[in-house]
């Protein structure tokens, strides 16, 4: 039983890692631009397909592919910012609808280029760290966990130690006040979009060898990410990380001890309960909603 608990804890740790990468990006984009990016799951999907195109089909080294995934999806984020979100800055619902349109485009492009069936990604390594016979951590999963820690730390340093990061946090807290302070909204929006999209892309690239890559894989990720964002509090990056961990633990344990459908219901209930007790999420403040 103890072994089962520890193994489930390891499963939850991995799950928290990639969900938090996706959720943090979503929070950043919403915080700075006020737009719910429905296409965020599809950015995750594009990251995974970068791995399919380069690593699986052309044998580019995996680490390099992940870096390319980050930059490529980050650039898609820039494209979205320039073509859709900037013109729609005063129209958040318009931004939402545009991101839904973009989601359909990305899905269609993926199925037309790579086919409707799942794509193949060979394993990066098959090594497994065996603590005991029943407690095992595949090294590929360890990579995801380490990378998530690395990226989140880097993001935190960037936000707290650099001028850009300071500007970004200022606009996330209060865009109007920030622009009065002479912070360029366009500039911060660009950075937020690049980082937010890039993190989703990198999460997709990192997990691509571990999950089934298909054009519709973004859907289940975005639902988890939304739950996490709400539980953590909109606009709160710390909240997103904490909530990712909480959601992953609850979901993983309920799946292991009861079943998957019940785990989904529990995750959603958890979120509703948080909202009822504290309608702005665990770390959210009242004025950003």
């Amino acid at each position: 039983m103890l072994e089962l608990l520890v193994q489930t804890g390891l499963n939850a740790l991995y799950s928290a890692s990639y969900i938090s990468l996706v959720a943090v990006g979503l929070v950043l984009i919403f915080g700075v631009m006020g737009i719910v990016n429905f296409a965020h799951g599809e950015l995750f999907m594009v990251g995974a397909y970068v791995v399919v195109a380069l690593y699986s089909q052309n044998e580019v080294p995996f680490v390099l592919t992940v870096a390319i995934g980050l930059i490529f999806v980050g650039c898609i984020g820039l494209l979205m910012e320039r073509t859709m979100f900037r013109p729609l800055r005063d129209n958040p619902l318009g931004g939402l609808v545009a991101s839904i349109g973009f989601l359909m485009i990305l899905q269609a492009l993926a199925s037309m280029t790579f086919g409707v069936r799942m794509a193949f990604v060979p394993p990066v390594t098959q090594d497994v760290i065996e603590f005991t016979d029943k407690i095992r951590l595949p090294v590929q999963r360890l990579y995801v966990i380490i990378a998530a820690f690395g990226f989140l730390t880097a993001l935190w340093l960037f936000l707290t130690r650099t001028r850009f990061g300071w500007a970004l946090r200022a606009s996330a807290q209060d865009p109007e006040a920030a622009s009065l302070q002479g912070i360029s909204i366009t500039q911060t929006a660009r950075i937020a979009m690049f980082i937010g999209a890039g993190l989703a892309g990198v999460a997709g690239a990192l997990t691509a060898p571990l999950i089934s890559v298909n054009p519709h894989m973004g859907h289940s990720v975005i639902i988890a990410a939304f739950i996490v964002v709400i539980v953590g509090g909109v606009g709160s990056l710390e909240g997103a990380v904490v909530a990712s961990a909480a959601y992953a633990i609850v979901h993983t344990f309920v799946t292991t001890f009861y079943d998957g459908v019940l785990a989904d219901i529990t995750g959603l209930l958890l979120m509703l309960i948080v909202l009822i007790i504290k309608p702005t999420g665990l770390f959210g403040t009242a004025d950003r909603a």
Partner: protein, 433 residues
């Protein structure tokens, strides 16, 4: 105004085969007269399945297979009806796995394109189409026999008898590896997974294999299968059964089993792209994996009793045109067309009722895997599923190999009550729907 309804409205009446009715109906929609004129020695077949969206993998590869089939048949002179050669043309409608769109698609295919037969994936989409089938008498086929019921007079399941054939794999397992006695199972919680759960439970019970746990259901939106596998392995089973899952789940589950150190027997309904599973795990791990869908380059498919023509060549051409897309549905729709062609030629007519009569004549039919019986009253309330032998496929030395053909009716004769018991427990009998 109500009187208008009777004059202009289209009442319950058979449209098919009556050119006068078609012309009359055409006049009503005079703005868009799209009714085909004399069917110029072309016979049209409808293909009504998801071509986009998450379920597209169950439709699109089948359409690709059908196009190869049509090319071959047309090159060989088409279908001979009434002493004349007819070319086959497939008309596809993307139903997006939505019942309302399937209904629209069925209406379009029947009333506007004038197709003579419609192949569907079935499942969620069939109930939307059923009233159209009742009203037009059109002949439909499904890949999911669980759509059958006593009311579906013109629906046939002539190829896939999912999930009943899964019993053959378990039976083979019990005969060849009699020391494996305990099993666990996980399944996707939907119309595909649940009847299959009941079937495997019956098959395990019949084989004297003990289930260590309730089947673990997961939502089709699951991405990470580590928790599911951890739970399965916590019972120390000798057999892990993956039920009928999309390949998007079979692969990560198998990979997790490998990474979490499982070394026992695996049995599954499908193993599409098993070469990729081997690449993700190891040849040793996948050795002995039991499933139900052969590669069509298997020499066993050249046997005399196999009714699928040139299986090896079909596999080769398909893989050249659609590399990496071969799967269970690639050949199934095409094999249904073989059956339809034979029936149409023997009836000397493409009309749905005539073809259906010819097809089911004598209660026997030529299934892809050998001659079979029209069967199903017990389970579906109607003898419209073509059931006979089904291959048991085992991965040997990295290659799917047919280990033999087992008879489903023989199994059912012995253990039918068990199957009914478990189907009832999962609300899957026709009279529970």
């Amino acid at each position: 105004m109500f009187a208008n309804f009777t004059r202009n409205g289209v009442t319950r009446r058979k449209f098919l085969g009556s050119a006068a009715t078609l012309a009359g109906a055409g006049a009503l929609s005079s703005a868009f007269p799209r009714v085909p004129l004399a069917a110029d020695k072309v016979v049209k077949i409808g293909f009504l399945a998801p071509l986009t969206g998450p379920v597209a993998a169950w439709g699109k590869p089948g359409l690709d297979g059908c196009r190869i089939w049509a090319e071959w048949v047309n090159a060989a002179g088409g279908i001979s009806i009434g002493g004349e050669a007819h070319m086959v043309e497939f008309v596809a409608y993307d139903n997006e796995y939505d019942p309302a769109k399937a209904r629209t698609g069925a209406t379009k295919l029947i009333r506007e394109d004038g197709v003579k037969f419609i192949m569907m994936l079935g499942g969620d989409t069939w109930p939307g189409v059923q009233p159209v089938a009742d009203n037009t008498g059109m002949l439909f086929s499904t890949l999911l026999p669980s759509d059958l019921s006593p009311d579906t007079k013109t629906l046939i399941a002539p190829c896939e008898v999912h999930p009943v054939y899964n019993v053959t794999g378990v039976e083979w397992l019990a005969q060849n590896k009699p020391d494996l006695k305990t099993a666990v199972m996980c399944a996707q919680d939907d119309a595909l997974g649940l009847p299959s759960v009941a079937t495997y439970l019956a098959a395990f019970e019949a084989a004297g294999i003990e289930m260590l746990d309730e089947p673990l259901l997961f939502d089709p939106a699951t991405t990470d299968f580590a928790p599911v596998v951890t739970r399965l392995l916590s019972k120390n089973p000798q057999i892990v059964c993956l039920d009928t899952c999309y390949s998007d789940y079979v692969h990560p589950i198998a990979e997790q089993l490998f990474q979490q150190g499982y070394k026992g027997q695996i049995i599954s309904c499908t193993a599409d792209f098993y070469d990729q599973m081997i690449a993700k795990t190891s040849k040793e791990f996948m050795e002995g994996f039991i499933f139900q869908f052969p590669d069509f380059d298997d020499p066993a498919l050249n046997a005399d009793f196999i009714n699928f023509k040139d299986a090896n060549k079909f596999y080769q051409v398909y893989n050249e045109r659609h590399p990496g897309e071969w799967g269970a549905v690639s050949w199934e729709y095409a094999s249904i067309m073989d059956l339809w062609k034979a029936a149409a030629e023997s009836a000397d007519s493409a009309e749905p009722d005539a073809v259906l009569t010819a097809m089911t004549a004598g209660g026997k039919g030529k299934h892809a895997f050998g001659d079979a019986d029209w069967w199903g009253s017990d389970l579906f309330g109607i003898d419209h599923a073509l059931v006979g032998n089904w291959p048991v496929v085992v991965i040997e030395n990295g290659k799917a190999t047919i280990k033999g053909f087992k008879s489903i009716p023989e199994w059912y004769a012995k253990h039918g009550e068990l199957l009914k018991k478990h189907m009832t427990a999962y609300n899957q009998m026709w009279n529970q729907r």
